[in-house]
Symmetry: C2
Subunit: 384 residues, 2 copies
């Protein structure tokens, strides 16, 4: 298997997580060098550092340049230089992709190189790849996404009775919101990710900026409480529609009835819904975090190496067919009959069903005249 040498742009949270992940799991990939701003600052990983981008893009040893530094500049200039020096590029940088993605893709094509950017939208969730290579094989009608963890945190916190500013300050105190939270709370971060998704979903040029953006700064605790009393909740949603009259993009605080999957999202968990001629798709996963984002970057690096990594299977792991260890809920075979006396007292909680801490072997359940269902969640249902 061909080995790959990586040059990193940035050695922050994602860069460090990526380096550790590669060191631990990828013997044929090596992080050769990292571009940093402050070479002296101690870091958790042992990588050669440099402050000169040329030392990355001109290094003949480096095959793939990985951008985990963010921001439009100097990322755009460095990535352009990387293509000119024959490197493939993997980026987690949504700003550079939103504003310079089409130009960088053209440059990559011109130099017969690859530009992959899975990590730039929804961190650890493989949504770029799913839309690019799979869902957009048929026309897509709409893409809707909850794409900003900071807003999720604030809106969830408001559901507990806090007002906007209290929730924002709590998010800042815990490090979920930046001291200048504008990009997150005003919806610009969501808008940038939406532009990237709409470009690949609708196969069309879409400018980096659009105007129909409303953030969550106008959401009040009163409204959240009143919506809750109506059985509803609110999340900041980016929505791209492809209709007869064209494509429209918008970002707005959006109301859903309780039970809608978007309302389950807490903190960094992101979700995207895609509707096409084929039906309805939902993707949910961690949208931020060093390891989550590093996973997406690594999967792009592996894709560069080969179309189908098709790793050799490991030697057979001992394969045990245990009875599943999940709890069970049991009913007597005859609904009119009480549970058999043979069940231990502490488990027979009601006259008509029992909660067991694990599933019974099938033979025993049969012998005792019980039907049992695995319980799929952490805790069994409450006894009434």
């Amino acid at each position: 298997m061909r080995s790959i040498n990586v040059g990193l742009l940035g050695l922050g949270t994602v860069g460090q997580a990526l380096t550790q992940l590669i060191t631990q799991s990828q013997p044929t990939i090596r992080v050769v060098k990292a571009l940093v701003r402050h070479p002296i600052r101690a870091r958790g990983v042992a990588v050669r550092v440099t402050t000169d981008p040329d030392e990355i893009v001109r290094d003949p040893e480096i095959d793939v340049v990985v951008d985990v530094m963010g921001g439009q500049h100097p990322a755009m200039e460095i990535l352009s230089a990387a293509f000119q020096h024959g490197k493939d590029v993997v980026t987690a940088n949504k700003e550079v992709m939103t504003y310079y993605g089409p130009a960088l893709q053209a440059l990559a094509r011109q130099h017969n190189r690859l530009l992959l950017y899975e990590a730039s939208v929804a961190g650890g969730m493989p949504i770029i790849d799913a839309i690019t290579h799979h869902l957009s094989v048929v026309p897509i009608d709409r893409i809707e996404g909850v794409l900003n963890g900071t807003c999720n945190f604030i809106l969830s916190h408001m559901e507990e009775g806090h007002d906007y500013l209290e929730a924002l300050h709590e998010a800042q105190r815990l490090g979920y919101a930046e001291q200048n939270p504008e990009a997150d709370v005003e919806g610009y971060d969501t808008a940038r990710k939406l532009v990237l998704l709409a470009r690949i979903g609708f196969h069309t040029e879409i400018p980096a900026e659009f105007s129909a953006i409303t953030g969550i700064t106008g959401v009040t605790g009163h409204d959240v409480a009143r919506l809750a009393s109506l059985g509803c909740g609110v999340r900041l949603v980016g929505r791209a529609l492809c209709q007869d009259q064209g494509i429209s993009l918008s970002v707005a605080p959006t109301v859903y009835r309780q039970g809608h999957p978007f309302l389950r999202l807490q903190g960094p968990q992101n979700a995207v819904q895609v509707t096409s001629a084929v039906g309805h798709f939902l993707f949910e996963g961690p949208g931020a975090g060093g390891l989550a984002t590093a996973t997406s970057v690594l999967s792009d690096i592996l894709r560069i190496r080969q179309l189908v990594p098709d790793r050799e299977p490991n030697p057979m792991i001992s394969l045990t067919f245990n009875e599943p260890e999940t709890p069970a809920i049991c009913f007597p075979l005859d609904p009119e009959t009480p549970l058999p006396q043979v069940l231990p007292d502490e488990l027979r909680r009601t006259s008509s069903y029992a909660i067991l801490s694990c599933q019974l072997p099938r033979e025993l359940a049969k012998l005792w005249g019980l039907r049992q269902y695995a319980w799929g969640e952490e805790e069994g249902p409450t006894i009434r």
Copy 2:
């Protein structure tokens, strides 16, 4: 762009949907020939047909052999011959992949060919690719899936008060269940798909069969009703766990509290949850149907052509930035103040909020002292 010639094995629902999809959307792909059992039977698509597999696998014009016929034999023999004659293979056939997948992958490697099988699990949902290339970059702890549409249909129908046999007969009447429903209702279909997911998720050899399989034939209407009264519901779930003592696979009717995403699944909609060091992922999408499955097959064919299809963007579609057309719910800026009189009477439904059939232009909302939220679902909330 290199053109691709496809030889089809099978011209049933999926084969026909695929041929139409390719004809409509892929000028550089051509379906050259299809293997059928009954060449005379009229079909909805114009493709040359043959009853002789050799005419497919030995045809020098054909690049990719696509298996949409199902069953272990003769699929295994034909796909083996295809690799020997230098063809790449795309298959939607879970039986052949479960029982002969590892042998076919070895043969593909030996002949330096590709074997892709996205459509073999969960039809239109890109779950094989997501797990193979993305999620399994870090160790996966558990994979849980609702993978059988027939069981979804039956269990949903039982929630409406029917017993198992009534629901099964209704499913058979509507064509959702086969006359011999054993593979679906006894859990074997789910088990096969689970084996395929576990192999790629845990990077290990896993035999085609395991014993901890309980279907839904023992689920009674009484139980479903009692579970509903406990605020719970049941779905047939395949579960693969990777723990210290090894890997365990099981299929069982599994109980979840209302609100769990698995309980929302109706009919052919499938879902898979994956838990890894990175967090929690959920994928939901259509698990069956001609077009859904054809989409997955086509995305595999396109993957064979190039790592990144990176289609040239279309000429710019007229990009309109309409105010979103979703309905809105409005609150007065001051919660103590009633809604402004300026709102049309028929829209002012309560004293403290209003439902509008579409969002107001932002300037108007501001002028009228209203905060508005987009409404994300088909119908607005009920007025109380």
